[in-house]
C-alpha cells in the first residue's frame, strides 16, 4: 500500500494530511508559530501518530504554502493554488470556481474538470482581504475566533463599516463599542466588509458554478452566509476547510508516487 503526505505550512496555521488508497487516513492542524521548520515536523508527526505510521512509511511527501521551503522531508514543493485546486476537486468534483480565505491572503481561482487551476487572483497585500481581518476584530471584541460565526448570525442591526482597512476597522469597531453597538452587529458588519472584498475578486475573475469556499475563513458560518448573500449563490464548504491545500498536496504526492511505481 502506498502512503502519501501533504504538508501545508500557512502563514497562520500548518496542516498535514496522510492518505492511502485515495482516502484521508489522518490529518493534523496547528498554529504555524515562528519556527516553520519545527512546526512542519510537529504537524506531520501529529498526523503520522494518528495514522499509526512513521515518516519512513510515507512514500512521497509534497509541501505547499507560505513556508513550503521549510519542510526538509518533502520531495518537492508545489504552489498553493495548484494544491488547493486539486483538493477542491477531490472534495467537490463539480466545483469550477473556488475561494480560499487564509490567514494572509484570499485566493479566488477557477479549476477545470481535472482539478487544475486555470486562472487565479490573490488579494492585495492588505489584511482587510484575509482572515487576519477577523483575527484583529476578534481580539478587539474579546471573542474566541471560533465563536464569531454563530454570534454574527444573531445580528438584527448590522453595523456598516466605513472602511475596508483592517487598521481603521479596528478603531471603528472600538468607536462602535463605545456607542453601544452589539458585538453580533459589529461582526455582521465585518463579515459584510470582507464579503465585499471577496465579491470584487470573484467578479473580476468571473464566477462559474459550482463555487466552493475553503480555508480557515470557511469555518466562520457568518462569513459563509455573507459571501453567499453577496454572490447570490450557495457555496460548497467542506467539513474541514483548513486542510484543503494539504489534501491537494497529498493527492499530488499520490500521483508522483504512482508514477514512480509504474516506472519501476
Amino acid at each position: 500500500m502506498i502512503h502519501i503526505a501533504g504538508v501545508d505550512i500557512g502563514s497562520a496555521f500548518s496542516k498535514a494530511v496522510i492518505m492511502a488508497e485515495n482516502k484521508i487516513i489522518a490529518y493534523q492542524v496547528k498554529p504555524s508559530g515562528g519556527n516553520y521548520r519545527l512546526t512542519a515536523e510537529q504537524v506531520t508527526k501529529g498526523a503520522l501518530t494518528k495514522a499509526k505510521l512513521s515518516l519512513k512509511d510515507i512514500d512521497y511527501v509534497v509541501a505547499t504554502g507560505y513556508g513550503a521551503a521549510n519542510v526538509p522531508f518533502s520531495r518537492e514543493a508545489v504552489s498553493d493554488i495548484s494544491c488547493l485546486a486539486r483538493g477542491v476537486h477531490y472534495l467537490f468534483p463539480t466545483a469550477r470556481t473556488a475561494i480560499d480565505i487564509g490567514g494572509q491572503f484570499t485566493r479566488v481561482f477557477k479549476l477545470d474538470k481535472r482539478g487544475r487551476a486555470t486562472a487565479f487572483l490573490l488579494s492585495e497585500k492588505c489584511a482587510a482581504g484575509s482572515g487576519r481581518f477577523l483575527q484583529v476584530i476578534a481580539k478587539v471584541l474579546q471573542i474566541d475566533l471560533k465563536d464569531i460565526g454563530e454570534l454574527s448570525l444573531k445580528s438584527r442591526n448590522r453595523v456598516d463599516f466605513n472602511t475596508g482597512c483592517a487598521v481603521f476597522a479596528e478603531s471603528e469597531a472600538i468607536s462602535r463599542i463605545a456607542e453601544g453597538a452589539a458585538k453580533e452587529d459589529i461582526l455582521a458588519g465585518l463579515h459584510r466588509a470582507l464579503a465585499a472584498k471577496v465579491q470584487a475578486m470573484v467578479e473580476r475573475l468571473g464566477i462559474e458554478p459550482d463555487c466552493a469556499l475553503v480555508g480557515g475563513g470557511a469555518k466562520d458560518i457568518g462569513l459563509v452566509r455573507s459571501i453567499e448573500e453577496s454572490l447570490a449563490c450557495r457555496l460548497l464548504t467542506p467539513d474541514e476547510p483548513q486542510i484543503v491545500a494539504a489534501l491537494g498536496a497529498a493527492l499530488i504526492a499520490g500521483e508522483k508516487a504512482a508514477a514512480i511505481k509504474a516506472s519501476r
Binding site: Y66, S79, R116, A119, F120
Partner: protein, 449 residues
C-alpha cells in the same frame, strides 16, 4: 539616523545577451560624465525620459542628468530607503512617486551638506543648472517634481514642456485635429530652446539638431527591427534584458552610442537565432510584460521565470519607439527639425488608433497587446502594479478585462510592489504567485489533454 543606514546586498542579475551585460558600465560612465561636466562647468539639465527634448539638449551641448534613472539606480542597488526616508522627513507623502521621493530626498540631502550624501550610489547626482519638466502621459510627478526640487535649489529654473497628443475616440479620426497638436508642441519646443539659450548661454546649432533628428529616426528604426527579432522561437532575448537595453533607448537617444549599441545587439540576436540559442535552453512558455515599470530591486525575478522555462519575448514598457517608416507620414520630408520631432511624437502615440477603431470595443492600448500576442506567440501576460506609480497603474486591470471581452481569455498575472521602495516587496510571496501562474499556464496549454 538615516545617514548611518547601509544598503542591503543584492545578487547581480544574470543577463542572456552580452549587450545587456554592458549596460551597467555604460550607465556608470553616464553618471560619471555628468559629474565630470559639473567639474568642468558645462551646463547640466535635470531631464525625464520620453520628453522629445533629447536631440535639443544634445544639439546645444547641454548634459542631461536623468533623474528617474538615478532613482532607479538607487533602487536597483537597494540603497533608496535612506533617500525616501529623507523625503518623508521633509514632509512628502510616502504614497507619492518613489522616483520623485528618492530624487527629492537626495537633492535635499546634497544641498544641506553642500556635497554628495555619504556613499552616494555611483558618485551621486550632480546639481543642475536647469530642470526640464513635462506634463506628458498624465504623470503628475513630471510636472511637479522639479517644482518641488526648487525648495532645495531655488536658483535653478524649471521649464515644463507640454507634450499632448490627440485623445483616442472610436468615432472620429484623430487626423482631423493632429495639426493643432503638432503646432502646439512645436511652440513648446521653440520655447524650450529659447529657455535653454537664456539660462545656459548655449546657442542652438540648428544644423546639428537636424543631424541628430535624422540619427534618432535611424535609431528608432534599428531598435524596432532589433526587437522584432525576438519573435524567433526560441526567443533570444527577454524582458529582463530589455530592462537593461532600455538605457540607450530612453537615456542615450540622439547619440551614436545608442545607435551602435543596437547595431551590436542586432548582430548578437541574429547570431543567437541562427544557432537556435534561446534565452533559456528549454523554452516552454512565452510571456509578455504587458505593463508597469519593473521593481528595479527585484530584476532577478525574471531569472526565476526563466528557471521555470518562461521567457518574455516582448514588453510594452520602455518600448517607446516604432519604425518611423511604419508611420503614415514621411518624416524625411519635414525640413524643420522641431516640427519633425513633434510629428514623430504624435504619430508614435496615435500609432494604434486606426487598428483599435476597426475592432468594436477595442482601445489602442489593448490593440497593442493583441498585436504582440499574435506576433510573438504569447501564452500569458504579466503586469506589475507599482503602488507609487499611478501613471502605469491606471488601466492595467481594465486592459486585461477588455482583452478578455473583445479578444480572448489569456492567462495573466499582476505582480505587486514598487519601482524603488523595497519595503513593498516580498520575494516569497512574489515567487509563490509566479509558481501558481506557471501551473495555470501549464493547465491552459494542456487543456483537453
Amino acid at each position: 539616523m538615516t545617514e548611518e543606514k547601509k544598503p542591503e546586498e543584492k545578487k547581480k542579475r544574470k543577463t542572456a545577451t552580452e549587450a545587456a551585460a554592458k549596460i551597467g558600465p555604460m550607465v556608470k560612465a553616464m553618471i560619471a560624465d555628468v559629474l565630470q561636466a559639473r567639474k568642468e562647468g558645462k551646463p547640466i539639465a535635470y531631464t525625464f525620459i520620453c520628453c522629445c527634448y533629447d536631440e535639443i539638449v544634445r544639439a546645444m551641448d547641454i548634459v542631461p542628468a536623468w533623474t528617474e534613472n538615478y532613482a532607479g539606480i538607487c533602487g536597483a542597488k537597494r540603497d533608496a530607503q535612506r533617500f525616501l526616508e529623507r523625503a518623508e522627513s521633509e514632509g512628502f507623502s510616502r504614497s507619492l512617486c518613489t522616483y520623485a521621493l528618492c530624487g527629492l530626498g537626495f537633492d535635499a540631502w546634497r544641498e544641506q551638506l553642500g556635497e554628495m550624501p555619504p556613499d552616494a550610489p555611483w558618485g551621486g547626482q550632480a546639481r543642475p543648472d536647469v530642470m526640464l519638466g513635462s506634463g506628458q502621459i498624465l504623470c503628475d510627478p513630471r510636472n511637479k517634481w522639479y517644482q518641488a526640487a526648487q525648495h532645495y535649489i531655488p536658483d535653478v529654473p524649471v521649464y515644463a514642456v507640454g507634450l499632448p497628443w490627440p485623445p483616442y475616440e472610436s468615432d472620429y479620426d484623430y487626423r482631423e485635429v493632429q495639426d493643432y497638436y503638432v503646432k502646439y508642441i512645436v511652440e513648446e519646443l521653440r520655447g524650450l530652446v529659447a529657455f535653454l539659450e537664456r539660462h545656459t548661454g548655449r546657442k542652438m546649432d540648428w544644423d546639428r539638431l537636424s543631424e541628430l533628428v535624422d540619427l534618432t529616426d535611424r535609431t528608432w528604426n534599428l531598435i524596432w527591427e532589433t526587437y522584432e527579432l525576438r519573435r524567433a522561437i526560441p526567443s533570444p532575448m527577454g524582458t529582463g534584458d530589455a530592462m537593461n537595453t532600455m538605457v540607450p533607448i530612453v537615456f542615450m537617444m540622439a547619440t551614436q552610442q545608442a545607435y551602435d549599441f543596437f547595431k551590436e545587439l542586432n548582430e548578437e540576436l541574429r547570431h543567437k537565432i541562427a544557432n537556435k540559442e534561446g534565452e533559456v535552453p528549454d523554452e516552454k512558455y512565452r510571456l509578455m510584460w504587458g505593463g508597469g515599470l519593473p521593481a528595479w530591486f527585484a530584476l532577478n525575478d525574471f531569472n526565476y521565470f526563466n528557471s521555470k522555462g518562461a521567457v518574455f519575448p516582448v514588453e510594452t514598457t520602455y518600448r517607446t519607439v516604432e519604425a518611423v517608416y511604419n508611420f503614415d507620414i514621411d518624416l524625411s520630408k519635414i525640413s524643420d527639425p522641431l516640427e519633425h520631432i513633434a510629428w514623430r511624437w504624435v504619430k508614435f502615440w496615435t500609432y494604434w488608433y486606426d487598428k483599435a477603431r476597426k475592432r468594436p470595443g477595442s482601445h489602442p492600448d489593448v490593440e497593442r497587446l493583441i498585436q504582440y500576442i499574435e506576433d510573438y506567440k504569447i501564452d500569458g501576460i504579466v503586469m506589475h502594479e507599482a503602488f507609487s506609480c499611478r501613471t502605469w497603474h491606471v488601466g492595467l486591470i481594465w486592459q486585461l478585462n477588455r482583452l478578455k471581452k473583445i479578444y480572448r481569455d489569456i492567462p495573466s498575472l499582476i505582480l505587486e510592489s514598487d519601482i524603488v521602495d523595497i519595503s513593498s516587496y516580498n520575494e516569497a510571496d512574489t515567487r509563490a504567485r509566479i509558481d501558481a501562474f506557471i501551473d495555470t499556464l501549464e493547465a491552459v496549454k494542456s487543456k483537453g489533454k
